[in-house]
């Protein structure tokens, strides 16, 4: 009888603990850091602008604004399935010497938390005079021609895709691109 009492008391203590731990409210501030990188090479193709989009708390260039090879955006409060955050980074071909045109066809995304987040990107014309001659191809997934002095935007979108929003989840999303030179056509 005494053993039964001890067992019941022990069960009660465990049950209260489980109920207390399980039902405790948890603060929710999700953080997603997205990093876009240009791979350093011989071309002067850099990030020149970073613009916040929907649900984006902060978008900025890292390092020298005139020669930024990486940019970051941060989002919080993605708590609804399907909610997304976007940021737009302008990439400019700053070549002036020898008038080298560039192409950007090497873009990869790295996602440290693919269970909860999906990442997508697309190249979009800037809509300014600076994008004259820019040719975007492959369904906006590459830039076949980025003339010297011109710019193109890359829009990065991070979407919460899981069915459960675990407040402890965070992610670092990486977008890497490489610009290569195009052969100059001489008449």
């Amino acid at each position: 009888m005494k053993k039964r009492r001890i067992a019941i008391v022990a069960f009660l203590l465990c049950a209260c603990m489980v109920i207390g731990l399980g039902y405790a409210a948890i603060s929710r501030t999700l953080t997603v850091n997205a990093n876009a990188h240009g791979i350093a090479g011989t071309l002067d193709v850099y990030f020149t602008e970073a613009t916040k989009g929907a649900n984006c708390v902060n978008a900025k260039l890292d390092g020298d604004e005139n020669a930024a090879l990486s940019a970051t955006f941060t989002t919080t409060d993605l708590t609804t399935v399907g909610a997304s955050a976007t940021a737009t980074f302008k990439i400019t071909n700053k070549e002036t010497v020898d008038a080298i045109n560039a192409k950007i066809d090497y873009v990869i995304t790295n996602n440290t938390n693919a269970n909860y987040y999906s990442v997508a990107y697309e190249f979009v014309a800037t809509g300014e005079d600076a994008d004259a001659g820019v040719v975007i191809a492959d369904g906006n997934q590459s830039v076949t021609t980025l003339p010297y002095g011109q710019s193109v935007n890359i829009v990065v979108t991070v979407t919460l895709k899981a069915g459960v929003t675990d407040p402890t989840q965070s992610a670092t999303i990486g977008i890497d691109f490489k610009a290569e030179s195009l052969p100059t056509v001489t008449p």
Binding site: A15, A25, I26, S27, T29, T168
Partner: protein, 378 residues
């Protein structure tokens, strides 16, 4: 082992094991009907194949009456609590479809499982008692809908806190009562607890933590009451008066502490608690800390205070960095200490849940681990 024992254990194993696939794979509504059909069939088999031994059935009517009164008293207190917490409409309407798909299967599960329990308990075998406990526990879980629909943490907690734990304590009560007073009091107890919420179209909007806590304790309180009332006082070596007093004081302190904890966790009283699960306030409030906050009731808030607010259906704990009064509206701009930028937009008094009082470091980790374990394993 005698032939009778073999039949007994074979049947008991079959009944119990037969419920497992229903719990794991059947959808809630289908699972209830399957479980009802299975238990009804097994109850007939048990009645026919297992010799019923004479079992005590003392104070049957008194025990039945006390059980019914106790449950009705519980529901009276439960509904009176609605005056503080408010009421909500029940999600399942009481109509013919509910009667056929839920109420009748539930009644059949309860009646069949208690009949089997009574017969197994009368065999005076520990193993048979264990089977009796398990099959009634599985029956309760089948009534709650089984495990098939559990795909996220909150659903798991509802099953564990609102079904499994109360089913265990209810099983302890029903084992005791069935062995001494017959099957009718347990049937009445289980049936009333499950069916009254179907019949009454509204229910108090109590936090799940409080409902889990009260349904966990209710059967044990009834058990203590019946035990004190009807158990014979046997001459035996009992604990000294000092030890008895110590036991009573410990139980009282434990009950007060547990009640206080549940009230904190429910966040429905003057103080609430919240676990910090993200690093936006690192330095001041670190991941794993639990903060105690005072519920917001219109108190003045100043810049620099850390508040708990609700935004996008989730709770956030950040610091107020600026306050603006525009067009009669007070706007609070918040920021996590470890975030580079302020939070998007602003919050108003309507969004504020509470003002932090103090924190307890590290104590929130088990809650975070529970969430993480389930998420990683799913």
């Amino acid at each position: 082992m005698t032939r009778d024992k073999k039949i007994l254990y074979a049947l008991a194993t079959t009944v119990t094991a037969g419920l497992l696939p229903i719990l794991l794979f059947a959808k809630p509504s289908g699972g209830r009907m399957l479980a009802a059909a299975w238990l009804a069939l097994m109850a007939v088999a048990v009645c026919l194949l297992i010799k019923r031994r004479k079992a005590p059935s003392l104070h049957r009517k008194a025990a039945l009456l006390l059980t019914v009164v106790f449950v009705l008293l519980y529901f009276s207190v439960f509904f009176m609590a609605g005056m503080h917490f408010g009421f909500q409409k029940t999600t399942v309407p009481f109509n013919l479809r509910t009667l056929l798909t839920r109420i009748l299967p539930i009644l059949l599960i309860i009646a069949a499982s208690e009949t089997i329990r009574r017969i197994l308990l009368s065999q005076e075998s520990t193993l048979a008692s264990v089977f009796a406990f398990l099959l009634c526990l599985f029956g309760e879980l089948a009534i709650a809908g089984g495990f098939q629909h559990i795909t996220y943490f909150n659903a798991l907690m509802d099953m564990v806190g609102l079904a499994l734990f109360p089913a265990i304590t209810s099983g302890i009560l029903c084992q005791f009562v069935s062995a001494r007073h017959g099957p009718l009091p347990p049937i009445a107890y289980r049936a009333l607890l499950v069916l009254i919420p179907y019949v009454i179209p509204f229910s108090p909007a109590l936090p799940d933590a409080l409902v889990a806590f009260s349904t966990l304790l209710l059967p044990l309180l009834l058990l203590l009451f019946l035990h004190a009332l009807y158990e014979k006082r046997r001459k035996r070596a009992t604990a000294s008066p000092h030890a008895k007093r110590l036991g009573i004081i410990s139980a009282a302190i434990g009950l007060v502490l547990a009640t206080g904890l549940m009230m904190l966790i429910s966040c429905q009283f003057r103080f609430g608690t919240i676990v910090i699960a993200t690093g936006s306030m690192t330095g001041e409030l670190n991941v794993g800390d639990a903060i105690i906050y005072e519920r917001y009731g219109g108190q003045a808030i100043s810049e620099g205070q850390i508040v708990v607010f609700q935004k996008n259906q989730s709770l956030t704990v950040h610091r107020v960095v600026e306050i603006e009064h525009i067009n009669g509206q007070t706007r609070y701009y918040t920021k996590g200490d470890a975030n580079e930028d302020r939070d998007v937009g602003f919050i108003t008094s309507n969004d504020i849940v509470g003002i932090t009082d103090f924190k307890i470091s590290y104590i929130g980790y088990p809650s975070i681990w529970m969430h993480r374990i389930f998420e990683n394993g799913s």
